[in-house]
Amino acid sequence: MTTPVIRVQDLVKTFGRFRALDGLRLEVAAGEVHGFLGPNGAGKSTTIRCLLGLLRSDAGTASVFGLDPWGEVGAIHRRLAHVPGDVTLWPNLTGGEIIDLLLRLRGVEPARSDRGSLIERFQLDPTKRARAYSKGNRQKVALVAALAGPAELLILDEPTSGLDPLMERVFGECVRERAGNGTTVLLSSHILSEVEDLAERVTIIREGRTVETGSLAELRHLRRTTITAQTPGPPPPLDALVDVHDVHVEGTTVRCSVGPEGVAGVLQALGRAGATAVTSAPPSLEELFLEVYRTGVAAAGDGS
């Protein structure tokens, strides 16, 4: 196996008495799209800041391209592009100026980059001052600047926050194109479904610790959908169906948690019962953690 692009072992970072990272592990292989999941405040952004050499860790090791991110910032940064979770921009520069600046700081000449086509795809007005941009537009500026130049590694911290669904799709296409060209992607999010489409492997963290890591197939048990339905009469009995869990009935409303094998059966049963409304929602991360802890799969795993 070749050296992983990102390797984090037992990383600890404290802010005063608060332990933001508490023995975190993360490994991203070359060429993979890796989902980095955790609820708000789990330590995703702190991990990324350590990987970028902005924060100095208190214990443990981190390497990017096999190099130390604290000591060899320049060598690492020329090979990666980063989109932060909370994009702030220089208020009196225009979006176009900022994109060009960020590209040049990475050593990319804007005229020879994909800048123009990306601005078009993301429908960004580059002549507006950053002060006047909405959250989504600031996000687009950061995305264009990150995606326009060549990079071996993309570090994307909740990159779709503030984007409308249409732009989310454009973003997904762009990431897939980069991944197709062999770019390694670290994609952080607090929503599992968001990374499901793009990532091959995911790492889930909570309170600064790695809870679960593996391929999506391995984490299949986590991919349950919560289905809620209204029926005219008493709901049909769902407990007996394959891969259906946690059935709750309240009057004519039924709610249950359904694995991939059970979806078709539940929908058929609800159809037969003449259901008047059906909603389905991906599981929240907190629900996943409960599941992980309950089934005892939890381990500060290293993916093996």
Partner: protein
Amino acid sequence: MRGTILLTRLAWRQDRLLIAVWTLALVAFCYASAAATPSLYASAAERAQAAQGINDNPAVVALYGPILDVHSTGELSMTKATVLYAVFVALLGMILVRRHTRADEESGRTELVSAGIVGPHAPLTAAFAAATGVFVLLGVLVALADIAGGLTIGGSLVFGLSWALLGLVGAALTLVAAQLVPSARTCAAIAGGMIGVLYLLRAIGDTSAVALSWLSPFGWATQLRAWSGPRWWVLALYVVLVAGLVVLAHALRGRRDLGAGLVTARPGPATGAPYLRSSPALALRLHRGMLIGWTIALLGMGALMGAIAPGVSGLLTGQAAQEMIRRLGGPGSLERTLIAAEASIGALVVTVFAISVVAHTSHDEQAGLAERALSTGATRGSLFAGTLMVAAGGALWLCLATGIGVALGYRRDAVPVALSVLATAPAVLVVVGVGVLGWAWRPGWYVAGWVALGLSLVADQIAQLLNLPSWVGGISPYSHLALVPSESFRAVPALVLALIAVALGAAAWVSYRRRDIG
């Protein structure tokens, strides 16, 4: 109304430390000045002589304003407070109002509260009300401090009132400035600039044409004659000015959208200029407007100060004044003394510029912008160098520009006059170095620069008033340099200060390399 009251209390809550420190410092200064006067000048005759001495020195009059009644102990005690330290009161008004109007608007906080029960005018009313509360408190405390220091009760009260009103002038000016432009930094530049112009107008008026002093609220503070037969109607001038500005601000607010300035922002360039490719270039680009504005302002200020210098000796007709001029070595020496005093004002103003640059860098870092640059190929070294280049390089440039302004106005001794402000640069760089070191330790600690500047201003004063050992006065780096052009340049202190500045810069770099960003 309820929303306004809530916002006012929120403002006090956010600013309580700033208000406490600022108020305490000013009140302590007034008490020390009042209490020390009897020990400095034992008899009424000595006090009158001291007051006459101040009036006879145009450099001092330019700084502090004249003493209208040389027999008044109160007026002598409060010489520096009446006008010069009143600038800090006006600046406090600016800081308080800007924070809760334009700065909140730019950061989106105003939008957050606007969704609640507050109308578009509530933030303006609340910011001004918060400032009014602070200045009522400050006025009362200052009056009490003066009374405790042994000054007359009536005079102390009128003096406290004049400070409170000057604070409100600063607040009201800023309330108007906040309506003009979308940027909180530009708002500070406009309001600070207006306060500077009003002070300068008075300085020129007091040294050459008193009519000009009547155009400035700082001039009114002297003309009020707080300590001997107050001219009550002068207070009406303040009230009319403040009320007019507040009404103007509300009218302007009614003509613009939330977050916008008066003029709709035009589209900017769609691509970055070719030079915009490094951290230093970015730092320069971000401070471009500021550098141009300050250069023009300081050139203008220098030219005005240079132009009034030749007129001053004609104003001094008294026996003692003529004697002093003779001792100094003729009218030419007197003018050079004035220019040297102007150069030291210039040095302080340039220091304010440079510390502001460090403050901007620090705020940008806390907003996540350092992270933005550093996650590209930009290194910490280039970011540090960019900040230092604009702060220190800009300071040197502005020193030169101010000197050139004075030389253009004065039209004699061009070279020494043009270099007079530059001769103070080592001291400027030491104070800025303290700010840079603070920032390099923790982003918010750039405030060390303001503290260093404040201490440099008052150290001499405090040491004299409280009978402290002489080295206390010497902590001001400005006090060690020769007063060019009235004295000839001394290389040794300049070199020592320059080395201290370099050492501070080096220590800052070591610290900045090792700390977390953000």
